[in-house]
């Protein structure tokens, strides 16, 4: 791994510098993660007196549990929808901002701040908008003949968390798309214009392909976001309901572990999630390695 051409000759100092971070990492990250792995192979008796080593029993049960499998597919639907919705909205907004000159900073300011809103607050905002009794959205939907009640209708509930989660992520994607658009060389666009391509054609044939690295990066980040950073949104809106319709993998780890106190299963679920994060990180870093080249 890279270091400086010449380095300081001190022997003990570097360890001293590393101690704080390594201590926190070992105590609060590595050790708990190992514990999770360990208890995913164990089963506690109902009174918590005795734990037995059960090999892959927790995993086996997990993967034949229709509830868990449905959570997997719910999570997938949620992640894909959030990614698609917020990325496409952001791309449109980024392209638009990139076209305006004087007002560009103003629009940017008005569009980026939701990044700083806590997911649980986002949940409450949309929960309020979609409140079946007094919310403005159900009111308007009723006007066009759609009845809305996310408390009883699983699809409504899913739509609600997708909208809320996408709303929060717009600002993030927007900023990265703007950065990506700004790095498209102006000369290419001018060359295409001289070749007779109109603005829409230019976008699809020149700009969009050149944005591919940004798009790919955001794809991974958004999936990651939808899976792991939306706990607060779900907890504030649907709490996984109705009837598990909006239970995501992360939310289930929490409910099974903390509320259901089923440590073995919850740990096995944690381990599955870790594997997913590792895979996503690996993909992301392969891509980053390549990007560092230039």
């Amino acid at each position: 791994m890279q270091a400086k051409r010449t380095v300081f000759p001190n022997k003990g100092l570097p360890y001293l510098l590393l101690v704080p971070q390594l201590a926190v990492t070992l105590i609060f990250f590595i050790w708990p993660a190992l514990q999770a792995v360990k208890s995913s192979f164990e089963r506690e008796d109902p009174f918590g007196f005795k734990t037995t080593f059960v090999w892959f029993e927790n995993y086996r049960r997990l993967f034949i549990d229709p509830l868990y499998l449905s959570t997997v597919s719910k999570t997938a639907i949620f992640a894909v929808s959030v990614t698609a919705l917020s990325m496409s909205l952001s791309l449109i907004l980024a392209v638009a901002v990139n076209r305006v000159l004087r007002t560009n900073r103003l629009y940017t300011t008005l569009l980026v701040w939701p990044y700083a809103v806590a997911p649980v607050v986002v949940g409450i905002l949309w929960w309020f908008m979609f409140n079946p009794t007094i919310g403005i959205a159900p009111y308007m939907l009723r006007a066009v003949g759609i009845s809305w009640n996310h408390r009883v209708d699983g699809v409504d509930a899913m739509v609600l968390i997708i909208i809320a989660a996408s709303w929060k992520q717009i600002s993030y994607n927007f900023l990265f798309f703007v950065a990506g658009l700004q790095s498209v060389p102006q000369s290419l666009i001018e060359a295409a214009a001289i070749d007779g391509a109109g603005p829409f054609k230019r976008f699809w044939t020149i700009v969009f392909p050149l944005l591919a690295p940004t798009t790919f990066f955001l794809l991974i980040v958004n999936i990651n976001y939808a899976m792991f950073d939306t706990f607060g949104i779900i907890d504030a809106t649907t709490q996984g309901g109705p009837a598990q319709a909006t239970n995501t993998l992360v939310y289930k780890v929490y409910t099974d572990g903390f509320i259901g106190l089923n440590i073995g299963s919850s740990s096995a679920q944690s381990v599955v999630l870790m594997i997913i994060v590792i895979a996503l990180t690996a993909i992301q870093f392969r891509y980053v390695e390549r990007r560092i080249q230039y």
Binding site: V117, F128, M274
Partner: protein
């Protein structure tokens, strides 16, 4: 722009204005709700224009809170959030810059191992190791305390990587010149490297402050004593107590107050914010 097409320009602004409306509207509605009296939410549709009770609602929430919902005055929760967000940001920056310094400017046995140990934290978000981490904190007696809120969250691979990345771009000769000039490692760190990292530190601070402020699950787990509630988790308790009829005006006042500090940070330090966001993700 290359060509001047009035229709396209119109469309562009239309798209942007629509975007801004989508982004702003939910918050506008929350703000409006926070300015009404409790009785205004009975009529079947939320009010769409601000009402007269703004000061009253906010000062009630800030000073008294809703004790029936187990929520202390918001001023306490805001203070807790501030302490937590600032401590996390500062803590992360300190431990990350030190470890990045060790990794880039020294060669020592187990350097690679240290790097990978730090790297691994990227793959272990708190959401996937909730229970065992909670156990560790409980065993250490750190439940219901500031250290319990803060320390488990301050290991940060991204901040370490950002500093590492930046240190690698600092020309080798600068460190060599400093050594010839008689600066030892800590002197070089303090006199040269730290001043050069100023903008990076500031940008990182903005991002990490937001990160610390919006934490929800972790405070939810480790605090049961309302003296340590942060505003972001406290709000949930407010809203959840009477799901049938939350006191919308008060909940929304809390929502606005919970959003305001980090949103202001983003707006006022937009340049640093964008830099921090785009660079930490590289």
């Amino acid at each position: 722009m290359i060509e001047n097409r009035p229709f396209l320009a119109f469309l562009t602004h239309l798209v942007l204005i629509l975007g801004v409306v989508i982004v702003v509207f939910p918050v506008y509605l929350a703000f409006v709700a926070s300015t009404h009296g409790s009785g205004d939410f009975m009529r079947g549709l939320v009010p769409l224009l601000p009402g007269p009770h703004m000061i009253e609602n906010y000062s009630f929430m800030l000073n008294e809170g809703i004790s029936t919902a187990g929520a202390p005055p918001l001023s306490i929760m805001l203070l807790n959030s501030l302490v937590m967000a600032i401590s996390i940001a500062v803590g992360k920056i300190i431990i990350s810059i030190l470890s990045a310094y060790a990794i880039v400017f020294f060669k020592f046995p187990f350097r690679l191992l240290a790097f990978w140990t730090i790297f691994i934290t990227l793959m272990l978000p708190v959401e996937v190791r909730i229970i065992p981490t909670f156990k560790v904190v409980a065993d250490l007696g750190m439940l219901n305390s500031y250290p319990g809120l803060i320390i488990p969250l301050i290991a940060s691979a991204t901040a370490t990587f950002l500093f590492r990345q930046f240190f690698l771009t600092v020309p080798d000769e600068l460190m060599e010149a400093a050594r010839v000039d008689g600066a030892g490692p800590m002197k070089f760190f303090r006199d040269i490297l730290l001043p050069l990292s100023r903008t990076n530190i500031a940008a990182l601070f903005v991002i990490l402050f937001i990160y610390g402020w919006v934490q929800y699950l972790w405070p939810l787990l480790v605090t049961t004593d309302s003296r340590y509630y942060t505003i972001v988790m406290g709000i949930k308790r407010l809203a959840a107590t009477a799901d049938a009829e939350p006191q919308w005006n008060f909940v929304m006042a809390a929502v606005i107050l919970a959003m305001l500090p980090p949103v202001l940070v983003v707006i006022l330090m937009q340049r640093l914010f964008v830099k921090g966001l785009v660079e930490t993700e590289k």
